[in-house]
Amino acid sequence: MIFAIFALTLNDKGFLNPNNLLNIVRQTAMIAVMAIAMTFVLSSGEIDLSVGAVAGLASVTAAMAIAAGGIFFGVAAGLATGIAVGVFNGLLTTRIGIPSFLTTLAMMGIAKGVAMWISGTAAVPIINPGYSWLFGGGSIGIVPVLLLWMLGLGAVGHFVLKRTTFGRRVLATGGGETAARYSGIDTSSVKFRVLVISSMAAALAGMLYAGRLQSGRFQLGEGDELSVIAAAVLGGTSLFGGYGTVIGTIVGALMIGLINNGLILMGLEFSQQLIARGGIIILAVALSQKRN
């Protein structure tokens, strides 16, 4: 429906132009990658607010490591950043019992601060065409590599959530934690793992941002947590746990991408975009909650 509205109102501004649609995919891929993991987090009854900041941090660590030791070192550093943050989030949430809402909210600040500190708030350039092609910039024919990342991870995420014991345990943990625990499911371990997965996905999204813009910056991914959570909820994932679908999430992410793109093409200022985007997301999520 959102697509139809933009298609009609923005027709003359090139909304339906294939280039623009591919652009939307490019812009949405990072949100989608994070939202796929967020589907697991929400389904298990937790939340991760640190994804945007972790993406920024990982873009910086990956860029610095590429400069120091090449592409493999860079990718490893980016993912290691995600794992480290995820383990930290996971331990605080499951061992000490701080709600993930608070753990990850605090982590949002910490990750951003570290990214600013180690980069001296400056962009870290990436001079590595291979990396830039693989993580964001490239395309095979007209198919952007970013689309492949999104679809590939989406397929894996869908399979894992729907068809594996891990997916069942995630849903059971979110659907009724006590009943799940009484049934022999190690709910702490489930929560720990989804938080690590979420941070790793956020780190990957950060590396994709870095590849696309050929530099790592702490601002990358800033504020994405709203879009990511909204994408999952729009797709039908329950904010209260127990139900989620990865396919729905990808559709939700594309809708968010359409909204963002449409607002830019409408020629709104950044401030107006923020207001409109917030309003549309609240409206859309409210509608999808009502349907449930």
Binding site: R168, A172, G176, A179, Y182, Y243
Partner: protein, 533 residues
């Protein structure tokens, strides 16, 4: 009552006539008449799905009837809504209590109708005084200043009823009020209800516990399959007749469960001086293959804690647990499952099922590793497990893909039991397996327990209904304050003076003896406390 209505008498509290209600394709009520006099306790009885909760929700204004008329205290309800019902004087006391735990009793009683000072600020002191006067008038012993969180289940319920009465309730609906209450709390509740009755309040009492109905109710209405079966004074309805009307067939009560001798095998589960963090305390217990051991005792006697320790949910702090002679360490439910121990927990809604998930997902939850290979769940294996348990336990569900939350209480409980039978445990611990389910499903579950014992399982069963323990168990352990106080073989509780085949009277006599031992245990415990000091 009946046809010759007296026109001069005060209006009846509730007159519902020809109430019909359909949900989708399912007819929940087919033209039901239901009348309650002012100043009587009226039991509303029926199996799960008989239409009890539907007619109460119609009375309460939650559901609008498709047909029929409702009159409350002589006032015709033309536009049914919860607000209209409340205004007419209907108050429903829910199973899940609706008090705010973090507020005081007085604050709860006057919630949304707070007494204000001249400045428009809330005046807690006056509210407290008013609450105190109210509790005194109704002779209810609850401190208005206490936080609701600090009250026991019994006091909370009394508070809830007082709150309703303070809002001019003329018709009080109690749905399974005794589920969470101890014996003495039930006593207090009954005394209070009799007082309210004398004040002309009409009380509709829903319970699956026949003994309570027999004690408190003046009249009873029985529904079955959405139809009115009978309304009669309790004096004309012996318990057996009631059960017959509820179940619709003869002889499906407890007294019918076969109690043939089962070969008792080698010890499967042995507890040696096991203690938990708080309870249980130094409990030793041996359960053999083919044996059902019952745990009797009051609320808080440590029975459920013991069950949780065995199932690895609470840690054991001392003692030893042996399975088939081998000492094992149980640190998590997973360890327990590995040792082939399963627990059917007491709180079905939170500990047993995931209400929003399908029957199949719930039934396969404890055996995920068995219905999968290298982490990938086989849909067919899940369906096989689900279909097998649905058939074996006769779970009534439209399909295995329906959410468990849509099933009746008895069938939800069967899902919990099925989940564990799917894991094929050797040792099964059942904590109040029949709480809140209808009499038909109850005897089905007790029969199942006997069947499992016959199949060579070792079973520990907790129940507050002594007749169930006496029907199901071979041995009964009485617990009090976390300790095992005494133990009886089932046949030791038989009365040699009564004919052995007079199951009903045998059961009654055994129940009295057991009740006596539970009370004794309590006294001795008191003495021990004195000695310890």
């Amino acid at each position: 009552m009946g046809k010759g209505e007296d026109v001069t008498a005060a209006p009846q509290a509730v007159v519902m006539r020809g109430i019909a209600k359909q949900f989708g394709g399912v007819r929940a009520l087919a033209g039901v008449d239901f009348e309650v006099e002012a100043g009587e306790v009226h039991a509303l009885l029926g199996g799960n799905g008989a239409g009890k909760s539907t007619i109460l929700k119609v009375l309460n204004g939650v559901h609008a009837p498709d047909a029929g008329t409702i009159e409350i205290c002589g006032q015709r309800i033309t536009h049914p809504s919860p607000e209209a019902a409340r205004q007419a004087g209907v108050a429903m006391i829910f199973q899940e209590m609706s008090l705010v735990p973090s507020l005081s009793v007085a604050q709860n009683v006057f919630l949304t109708r707070e007494t204000k000072t001249g400045l428009g600020l809330i005046d807690d002191r006056t509210a407290e005084k008013k609450a105190r006067a109210l509790f005194e008038m109704l002779e209810v012993d609850v401190n208005p200043r206490a936080l609701v969180a600090d009250l026991g289940a019994g006091q909370r319920q009394l508070t809830e009823i007082v709150k309703a009465i303070s809002q001019e309730a003329r018709v009080l609906v109690l749905d399974e009020p005794s589920t969470a209450l101890s014996v003495s709390d039930v006593e207090r509740l009954f005394t209070f209800l009799r007082k309210l009755k004398d004040r002309g309040v009409a009380i509709i009492y829903v319970s699956h516990r026949m003994d309570e109905i027999a004690r408190i109710a003046d009249r009873a209405t029985i529904l079955r399959d959405g139809r009115h079966v009978i309304t009669a004074p309790l004096s004309e309805l012996p318990i057996d007749t009631m059960i017959e009307h509820i179940v619709g067939k003869r002889s499906r009560g407890l007294s019918d469960v076969a109690r043939e001798q089962v070969e008792i095998g080698e010890p499967l589960l042995e507890l040696v001086s096991v203690s938990g963090r708080h309870k249980p305390c130094d409990v030793s217990l041996t359960v053999h293959r083919g044996e059902v051991v019952g745990l009797a005792g009051l609320l808080g006697s440590g029975r459920s804690s013991l069950a949780r320790v065995i199932a690895g949910i609470e840690p054991s702090t001392a003692g030893e647990i042996k399975v088939a002679g081998t000492p094992i360490e149980i640190r998590s439910p997973r360890d327990a499952i590995g040792a082939r121990i399963a627990l059917v927990p007491e709180a079905r809604a939170t500990q047993g099922i995931i209400a929003t998930h399908s029957v199949a997902a719930n039934l396969s939850m404890a055996v995920l590793d068995r219905v999968s290979s290298s982490g990938v769940v086989s849909r067919r294996a899940v369906e096989e497990v689900a279909d097998h348990q649905i058939e074996r336990l006769a779970i009534k569900t439209a399909s295995r893909d329906h959410a468990v939350g849509t099933l009746s209480g008895g069938n939800q409980q069967k899902v919990v039991i099925g989940k564990w039978l799917a894991a094929d445990p050797d040792i099964l611990v059942l904590d109040e397996p029949t709480a809140g389910i209808d009499i038909g499903s109850k005897s089905e579950i007790i029969r199942l327990v006997r069947e499992l014992a016959r199949a060579g399982k070792a079973i520990v069963m907790i129940s507050s209904e002594l007749s169930e323990l006496l029907t199901a168990c071979d041995r009964i352990l009485v617990m009090s304050e976390g300790r095992a106080v005494s133990s009886f073989a089932r046949h030791d509780l038989d009365d040699p003076d009564l004919p052995a085949d007079d199951t009903m009277h045998q059961l009654q006599s055994a129940e009295q003896k057991l009740q006596f031992h539970i009370q004794e245990a309590l006294k001795h415990q008191g003495v021990r406390h004195v000695h310890q000091r």
